[in-house]
């Protein structure tokens, strides 16, 4: 079993994470062997269509997976701590403190019956052990830091009195109030208007500089990735299918799925008759295809794709889960490969269990 090449200075390391849901109809392998890392101060973009397991990966890091879901294998380390080995109490101290999380739906992510300021102050007084009153003042300070005018008054208002963009700012203020080392942002701008989206992204960038924190940015929007991310992980049906730095992914994508995603972004100044969209739909998680999970939708599908492709290192730091050669050609074993040959070839290429 070859390990994923670890890079120095990783803040968060996820290895072979499997989070499965035991439903009435069968086991849904929402996250099935995912590995990646985030360095201190780095922003990692996690991309994929809805249902690919990116949010579940984030919730696994927070250990907020609810029944019928369960983390069944793998390890998640934050600096030198094994998060999956922590007691519930120790984990609570990590949540909202070392790792904070903001969610997709600012409209429903704040408790409707408590004033915004109190909800921020609650996190502060919990983790910093300071008094409610002092925490209240800090909350107001955080609100003005995230660009909320008249913060003192806003702190006393209830969530329903604020707009969506304002609420997301409150969420960000809450998440950053304890100076986390890692911020997990799950589709932070998806539910917002385009102009508000830009403002929130700007805010996150500014705060990232100031607080020197790492960000795990989950999105299905490659525009957001291009704007924010240093490195990118592309997920499909619970697995990482490609990962590299942001330039490589945008300039030299290897996996046909990544290529499809990139082709589906409209670009200014480019003459195309129609937007290319990946055909078909994400496979039913209860009935995944044998072999490559993307083969039914893949324009380059070959018989060898009936065997699960390995995650191969295309070039240093660039991984792709596809049978295509690094140059993007069908492999020699391609056209009519026997399973055994394919498995042997896979073993040679695999960089991961």
């Amino acid at each position: 079993m070859t390990q994923r090449p670890t890079r120095t200075g990783e803040l968060l390391s996820i290895d072979g994470l499997k989070t499965h849901f035991y439903t009435q109809d069968g086991v849904v392998k929402a996250v099935d062997g995912v590995s990646f890392g985030i360095r201190n101060g780095e922003t990692l973009g996690v991309v994929g269509e809805s249902g690919c397991g990116k949010s579940i990966t984030a919730l696994s890091v927070m250990r907020l997976i609810e029944r019928p879901g369960r983390i069944v294998a793998g390890s998640i380390r934050l600096a030198d701590r094994d998060l999956l080995a922590l007691s519930d109490e120790e984990m609570r101290d990590v949540r909202g403190n070392a790792i904070s999380m903001i969610f997709q739906e600012p409209m429903t992510s704040l408790n409707p019956v408590y004033p915004c300021g109190d909800q921020i102050a609650e996190a502060i007084s919990l983790h910093e052990g300071i008094h409610r009153r002092e925490a209240g003042d800090r909350a107001i300070e955080m609100l003005s830091q995230v660009g909320i005018p008249d913060a003192k008054r806003r702190a006393r208002e209830y969530p329903h009195q604020l707009s969506g963009g304002m609420r997301q700012r409150v969420m960000i203020a809450m998440a950053l109030s304890t100076n986390p080392e890692l911020l997990i942002a799950d589709e932070p701008t998806t539910a917002l208007d385009v102009t508000i989206q830009a403002q929130i992204l700007e805010l996150m960038k500014a705060l990232r500089e100031r607080n020197r924190m790492a960000i795990m940015l989950i999105t299905h929007d490659l525009g957001v990735i291009a704007e924010m991310a240093d490195d990118v992980v592309v997920m499909y049906s619970g697995k990482v299918v490609e990962s590299s730095d942001v330039n490589t992914v945008f300039e030299q994508p290897h996996h046909p799925y990544t290529k499809g995603l990139l082709a589906s972004i409209p670009r200014l100044g480019e003459k195309r008759h129609r937007l290319e969209v990946i055909q078909g739909v994400v496979p039913n998680p209860l009935n995944l295809p044998k072999g490559c999970l993307f083969k039914r939708r893949c324009p380059s599908a070959m018989p060898v794709c009936d065997t699960p492709p390995p995650l191969q290192e295309i070039q240093p730091g660039h991984l792709s889960r596809c049978w295509l050669t690094p140059a993007g050609e069908p492999p020699e074993i391609g056209a009519d490969a026997e399973a055994e040959t394919a498995v042997a070839a896979a073993a040679a290429l695999t960089v991961e269990a």
Binding site: P283, N284, N287, A301
Partner: protein, 308 residues
Amino acid sequence: MEGTQVTRIPGGAIPAVDEVDLTPVRTYWQLVRQRFVRHRLAVIAFFLMAILVTAAIAIPLLSGDAWKETSLERINQPASLTAPLGYDSLGINTFARLMKGLQTSLFIGFAAVLVIVFIGVTVGSTAGYFGGWVDNALMRVVDIVLSIPTFFLILMLVAFWGTGNVWVIIIAIGLTGWTTAARLVRAEFLSLREADFVQAAKALGAGDRRVVMRHMIPSAMAPVVVAATLGIADSVVVEAALSFLGFGITPPEASLGNMLTKAQDYFYRNPLLAWYPGITLVLVVLAASFLGDGLRDALDPRQRVETN
């Protein structure tokens, strides 16, 4: 997301095309059945209700007048094969009487629900279809009916208009119980009125009556069926309470309620007499409510409150 993988064409080299997801399309009723069968308690309730209904019809039919035949020799005789629950203080076969009482109760329950559905659908569809002042006026009537405590209203109707008369009881329960059904149908109609298929039918020149009867009522029936099933439980209990207070079915006719009242008088000799009709009543209520829950999940998944 109900996908089943389809057999692949052997030797096919173009997987993207031949592996199209060919999940068989299920009809509405197949889906309904599937969702209902998955609700285990509802299936049990269905069989329980079937057994209760069958017993209530068959046993009085087979045992003739046993439910009211008194006999001096058999007074307080213990249980036997022909009288599994023994004989009461008048020498009547308790089991036979219980089944006759169940028959009366179920008949009243089902008949009252039919009245409820009839009034509810009529009022609800009229209000929802025409809207405007018609809707307003009918909804005020609903408010008024809802504002008189239901049981007391039924009690007044039955006591003053025909104590002991099965039909008065049925109509009284019906006249007071239709508001829920009316509201459900009205809500359904208000949204259906603008639905494409109704607009299409109107555009094709279908008259009001035809549009309502052929197109809208069938679509609005799901929540009504659910409410009606749950209503059976309520109606049976109301009948028992009326009979218990002496306004419902009066002896010698049998009903679960008047068996309970009579059991009061013979408590010291046979305390179990109060349990038989009560437990039968509870079984009917349980069967009807689980059946209702199952039907709600099956017919009208949107209404589902709690997911597993």
